[in-house]
C-alpha cells in the first residue's frame, strides 16, 4: 500500500522562500501531517510545523493544502490520487515565521480587545439557572478550536493588510455573537461589534464557514444574526422609535453598553 507521495512544502521565512520537493514514503490511512512528520524525521529535521493533538481537536496544524486552508491532521491522503502532487504552504494571511509556522498573534491581540463575559450575581442558592435552549446557540460557537482558518481565509484581511487594525475577523464575530446571545450577560456589545470589531467590513461571502473544520455555521448563525442585532441599534428607525416610546422587547433589559 505504501507509495511515494509527491509532496511539496514551502520552506523559508520572512526574507523569502520557495516551494521545495520532498518526495516521501507514505502508507495507507495516513494524513498530510504524517507525511510532514516523516519529512521532518528523515529529510529535514528543522522543518518548522505547529501541531499538537493530531486529532482535529486543538486547531494547531492549520496550513494551506493545494491552496485550501485546512488542518493537516484532518486531511487524509486517500482524498488524493496517488500520483497527485500535494503542495503544503503556511497560512497566507499571517506573517510567516518559518516554513509552515506563521505569526498568529493578530488573533491573540484581537481577543484582548473584546470585553469579557459579565454575569449578574448568582441566585440565592449560589447557583445559576439557564435553560438548555438558551445556551445552545452559544454552545455551537464555543465548539471553536481556534485554528484561525476562518481568520486566514477571510479576504478582508487576507487581501488587505491595512484592514487588520479595524477588523476582528470571523472568530471574534463568533465570540461577539456568543456573548450577545448569552442569557445572563450584562454587557451590550452591539455598537462595539460594529465600530471596533469591524462587523460592517464583512461582506458575508461565507469563506469562513466553508473552511471551518468544526462545521460551525459562522456566517448564518453568528455573523448575520449579529449584523441583524447591530441593525436593531444602528440602522432600524422603527426599533429606535419603539425604544423611545417604551414599546420594545424586554428581552434585552439589564444590559449596559460597553
Amino acid at each position: 500500500m505504501a507509495y511515494t507521495l509527491k509532496l511539496k512544502i514551502w520552506r523559508g521565512d520572512k526574507s523569502g522562500g520557495e516551494i521545495k520537493d520532498y518526495p516521501v514514503e507514505v502508507s495507507e490511512g495516513e494524513v498530510v501531517l504524517d507525511a510532514i512528520h516523516r519529512v521532518q524525521g528523515t529529510q529535514a529535521g528543522d522543518l518548522a510545523v505547529r501541531w499538537n493533538c493530531k486529532a482535529g481537536k486543538c486547531g494547531s496544524c492549520s496550513a494551506e493544502i493545494n491552496g485550501k486552508p485546512r488542518l493537516m491532521c484532518m486531511c487524509r491522503l486517500s482524498d488524493f490520487a496517488e500520483d497527485e502532487t500535494i503542495t503544503v504552504t503556511p497560512m497566507r494571511s499571517f506573517p510567516v515565521i518559518r516554513d509552515l509556522v506563521t505569526d498568529v498573534s493578530f488573533n491573540y491581540e484581537k481577543a484582548k480587545e473584546l470585553p469579557s463575559f459579565s454575569p449578574p450575581p448568582r441566585d440565592g442558592d449560589n447557583k445559576r439557572r439557564m435553560a438548555q435552549i438558551d445556551v445552545e446557540r452559544g454552545q455551537e460557537f464555543r465548539k471553536c478550536i481556534e485554528c484561525f482558518l476562518c481568520q486566514n481565509t477571510c479576504h478582508v484581511v487576507r487581501d488587505h493588510e491595512e484592514n487588520k487594525p479595524a477588523f476582528a475577523g470571523p472568530r471574534f464575530f463568533l465570540r461577539y455573537a456568543e456573548l450577545d446571545m448569552h442569557p445572563l450577560d450584562t454587557n451590550d456589545r452591539r455598537n462595539l461589534a460594529q465600530e471596533q470589531a469591524g462587523l460592517g467590513m464583512c461582506n458575508i461571502t461565507k469563506c469562513c464557514t466553508e473552511v471551518c473544520p468544526e462545521g460551525i455555521k459562522i456566517t448564518d448563525n453568528a455573523i448575520i444574526p449579529m449584523k441583524e442585532r447591530v441593525a436593531d441599534v444602528k440602522f432600524d428607525p422603527l426599533v429606535w422609535l419603539g425604544a423611545k416610546i417604551g414599546l420594545r422587547t424586554k428581552d434585552n433589559d439589564g444590559r449596559t453598553e460597553v
Binding site: 490511512g29 504524517d34 486529532a55 491573540y108 464555543r142
Partner: protein, 641 residues
C-alpha cells in the same frame, strides 16, 4: 535566515506575544521578573495563574504551544463535582469515598478530600467566567454518570468539556491581562540555596533564551504519555514538569501507575492511540477477536465473577434491566479489559492492524449510534473512513494518563523544594493507583487555585529578600540547552525518541514482568548514552529537531522513573499490572514509591515511603479492606478525562 535577529533592536516587542525583548543579537538574553511563573497553560496552569493574579501576584504563564492548545482540550467526559444537581444525595463525602476506592486506597487522602470538597465551587466559577455547560430541566448545570462515581456527577458540555474548560480559563486569563509567553519552553529552574530563584527557557520561534527571576514556580506541564508509542497524549506530554522537579531536587511518587485505556484507535496509523470512549461499550458495544468470538467471557477474574454476567443472554439483558442481570464482561474495570485485549492480540487473534474489534454496528441501529455517540461516529468517519454504524471498530489499549507525579503538600501543592509547586497531571498523590474519569478536570481546578494562592503568599512573604539567580547557573543552563548543536556525527533525536517509545510500549506497557522491566532499564541506559551524543541540524530558529532533543532528556528520565518503580512494586494494583505478581498485596497497599534524581544527576534513586495516615473521621467511609479492588461501573461514561 534569522527572522528575529535581523529586525530586533532594543525596545522591540516580541512579535508573537508583545512581550518586551532585551538584547538584540540572536542568542541574546531576555530577562523578566515575576512573583509567580506558571509553566504550562492547560487547565491547571491557567487556573493557577488566575489564582495567583487574583491574589495579587505579578504572574506569567509560559507554555510550549500557543495559548489554548494544551492537552486539556482533548478531555471529553466532564468535571467531577458533587453539586447534587441531578442527585441531591450527592455530597463531597460520597465523592471522596469514590475517589479513594477508585485509586485503590493509595491516594493522598487529604488531596482526595480537598478535591471532593472544593470541586463544586470551582465548577461554578467557570460558569461565572462564561462557560456554557449543558443544563438540567430546571436550568442547573447538568451532571452525567461516569465509571466509578456513585452518582451522576460530571458537569459537562456534550463530549467536549475540556475544550470548554480551557477556553473559559483562557478567556479569563486574557481578561485579567496575565502575561503569556507562548511557544516558550522552560529547560531549567534555578535555585538559591534550597529555594527557587527563577527559571530558564527559550523561545521556540527564535531560539532566544529567556531568564525569569521569580521566587515561585508552578509546574503544570501535564503527563508523560509521549514516552510510549501508543498514546492518546500529544507531543507536549514529555514529562517536562516531572523532570524539572527532579532536577531541582524534588521527588516523584507513584510513577509506576500509568493508566492504559483499553480502547484506543489502532488504525489508521496517524491516529493510533486516539481515545475511543468507554460509552461505546456502555451503550452496547462488544469486543470480538478475529475469529468473531466475544472473548471477554473467557477473562472474567474470580474477584468479579459474582457481579459479572457469564452468558451472552444475561449480558445482553443487562442493558435493558440492570437490576436483575449482571454486568457484561466488557464493562469490567479498565485494567482487566486492557489485559484481556492484550492477551488476545498476543495469542494471534488480533485484527489486521493489531487490535481487536469493538462492534456496536451489529448491535444497535444506525440512528441510535449516531445519536448517542456523535463524536465517535465523526471521529471514525473522518479519520479512519470507517462507518461505525455498519462495521466494527479496530481498537487496542493506549497510554492515557500518569497517576504519578511530583510529591507535593496536599494543601499548598508545594514540592520538597521551597517555592516549587506542581499541579494537575504532573503532580502525584491525588489519584492513587488509578484515576476515576472526571477527576482530572476537577483536580486541575481545585489544586490549580490552591497552588496559585500558596505561591503568591510565599512570594509575598519574602518581601525584598528574594532568592537570586546565580549567573553561573544561567551560563550552565545555556550551555546545556545548546549542547545538541555542539555534537558532530551523532544520532538524530527523532530516531532515539521513536526507539524509546517502542521500547517503553513493549517492556513497560500494560502488562509488566520482572525480566522485561529489567530489560527496559538496560535499554534506557543505552538510550541515555545515545542521547548524550545526539545531533541537531539547522539553527535555533523554530527548529523542531532541537526542541525534541531537549524534550527527549525529560522523556528519558521519566521513563527511567516509571520502569524503576514498576520493577520495585511487586503486586498488581490499579494502573500497574505485574504478570509475575497478579493481584494486590496488602503490605504494598500501605506505601508509596518515591523516586529522586541520584547524586550524580545521571539516574534515579528509589525508596519506599509509608502512606499518609487517614484520620479516623474519614476512615469510617471505608468498610472494604484497603487492598480490595473496586468495580468501576462504566456503562455511562463518555470519554475519559
Amino acid at each position: 535566515m534569522s527572522v528575529s535577529a535581523s529586525s530586533t533592536t532594543d525596545g522591540d516587542r516580541h512579535p508573537m506575544t508583545g512581550n518586551q525583548l532585551d538584547g538584540n543579537a540572536e542568542g541574546g538574553m531576555e530577562r523578566h521578573t515575576y512573583d509567580v511563573v506558571v509553566i504550562g497553560a492547560g487547565g491547571a496552569g491557567l487556573r493557577a495563574a488566575i489564582a495567583a493574579h487574583e491574589s495579587g501576584a505579578k504572574t506569567a504563564i509560559v507554555c510550549k504551544s500557543l495559548l489554548g492548545k494544551a492537552h486539556t482540550v482533548m478531555a471529553e467526559g466532564g468535571i467531577a463535582a458533587s453539586m447534587g444537581n441531578v442527585y441531591p444525595d450527592d455530597n463531597w463525602e460520597v465523592h471522596f469515598r469514590d475517589t479513594m476506592r477508585g485509586g485503590k486506597m493509595l491516594n493522598n487522602w487529604r488531596m482526595a478530600q480537598l478535591h471532593a470538597q472544593e470541586a463544586p465551587e470551582r465548577v461554578m466559577e467557570l460558569e461565572d467566567w462564561g462557560a456554557l455547560f449543558d443544563r438540567t430541566e430546571d436550568g442547573l448545570i447538568s451532571q452525567r454518570d461516569f465509571g466509578g462515581h456513585k452518582y451522576a456527577r460530571l458537569a459537562h458540555v456534550g463530549d467536549r468539556t475540556g475544550l470548554e474548560m480551557i477556553r473559559t480559563l483562557q478567556q479569563r486569563a486574557v481578561a485579567l491581562g496575565i502575561d503569556v509567553f507562548m511557544e516558550c519552553t522552560i529547560t531549567d529552574v534555578f535555585k538559591d540555596g534550597g529555594r527557587i530563584a527563577g527559571a530558564f527557557g527559550y523561545w521556540r520561534e527564535s531560539g532566544r533564551f529567556v531568564v525569569f527571576d521569580a521566587p515561585s514556580v508552578i509546574l503544570a506541564t501535564g503527563g508523560i504519555g509521549k514516552s510510549f508509542k501508543v498514546t492518546s497524549n500529544s507531543w507536549e506530554y514529555t514529562g517536562d514538569g516531572h523532570a524539572l522537579a527532579m532536577r531541582a531536587g524534588a521527588s516523584l511518587i507513584n510513577m509506576e501507575f500509568v493508566q492504559f485505556h483499553p480502547t484506543g484507535m489502532v488504525w489508521p496509523p496517524s491516529v493510533k492511540g486516539l481515545l475511543v470512549t468507554e460509552s461505546v461499550r456502555g451503550d452496547g458495544g462488544i469486543l470480538k477477536n478475529s475469529d468473531g468470538e466475544r472473548f471477554m467471557f473467557d477473562y472474567i477474574p474470580e474477584f468479579f465473577r459474582a457481579e459479572t454476567a457469564d452468558t451472552v443472554e444475561e449480558a445482553d439483558a443487562w442493558y435493558e434491566d440492570k437490576k436483575n442481570n449482571r454486568r457484561p464482561p466488557e464493562l469490567l474495570p479498565r485494567d482487566e479489559v486492557a489485559r484481556a485485549i492484550n492477551s488476545e492480540i498476543k495469542a494471534g487473534r488480533g485484527t489486521p492492524h493489531g487490535g481487536v474489534y469493538l462492534d456496536i454496528a451489529s448491535r444497535r441501529t444506525p440512528e441510535f449510534i449516531r445519536k448517542r455517540l456523535p463524536s465517535m461516529y465523526h471521529q471514525f468517519k473522518e479519520l479512519a473512513d470507517v462507518d461505525i454504524t455498519s462495521e466494527p471498530m479496530e481498537i487496542g489499549p493506549t497510554c492515557h494518563y500518569v497517576m504519578g507525579g511530583v510529591e507535593v503538600d496536599a494543601d499548598t501543592q508545594e514540592s520538597a523544594v521551597v517555592g516549587l509547586y506542581a499541579v494537575g497531571e504532573c503532580s502525584g498523590g491525588m489519584h492513587g493507583s488509578n484515576r476515576l474519569g472526571g477527576n482530572s478536570l476537577g483536580d486541575l481546578l481545585v489544586f490549580g487555585k490552591r497552588a496559585g494562592e500558596a505561591a503568591t503568599a510565599y512570594a509575598a512573604s519574602l518581601g525584598a529578600a528574594r532568592p537570586q539567580v546565580d549567573e553561573a547557573d544561567v551560563k550552565a543552563a545555556q550551555a546545556s540547552a545548546l549542547a545538541p548543536f555542539e555534537v558532530e556525527g551523532g544520532e538524530n533525536p527523532y530516531t532515539i525518541q521513536s526507539d524509546l517509545q517502542q521500547s517503553m510500549n513493549d517492556l513497560v506497557g500494560i502488562i509488566r514482568t520482572r525480566s522485561e522491566l529489567e530489560e527496559s532499564l538496560r535499554e534506557i541506559e543505552a538510550f541515555k548514552t545515545r542521547a548524550s551524543t545526539m545531533v541537531v541540524e539547522g539553527h535555533r530558529q523554530y527548529n523542531p529537531g532541537w526542541h525534541l532533543a531537549l524534550d527527549l532528556r525529560n522523556m528519558l528520565i521519566v521513563s527511567e522513573c516509571i520502569a524503576k518503580a514498576a520493577l520495585a512494586r511487586e503486586e498488581s494494583r490499579g494502573g500497574h499490572t505485574r504478570d509475575d505478581f497478579p493481584g494486590p498485596n496488602a503490605e504494598w497497599g500501605t506505601k508509596n514509591l518515591v523516586v529522586n534524581l541520584n547524586a550524580a544527576g545521571t539516574g534515579v534513586d528509589l525508596h519506599e515511603k509509608p502512606l499518609p495516615v487517614m484520620p479516623d473521621e474519614l476512615k469510617k467511609y471505608f468498610e472494604t479492606p484497603a487492598a480490595a479492588p473496586v468495580v468501576e461501573p462504566a456503562e455511562t461514561s463518555e470519554g475519559d478525562k
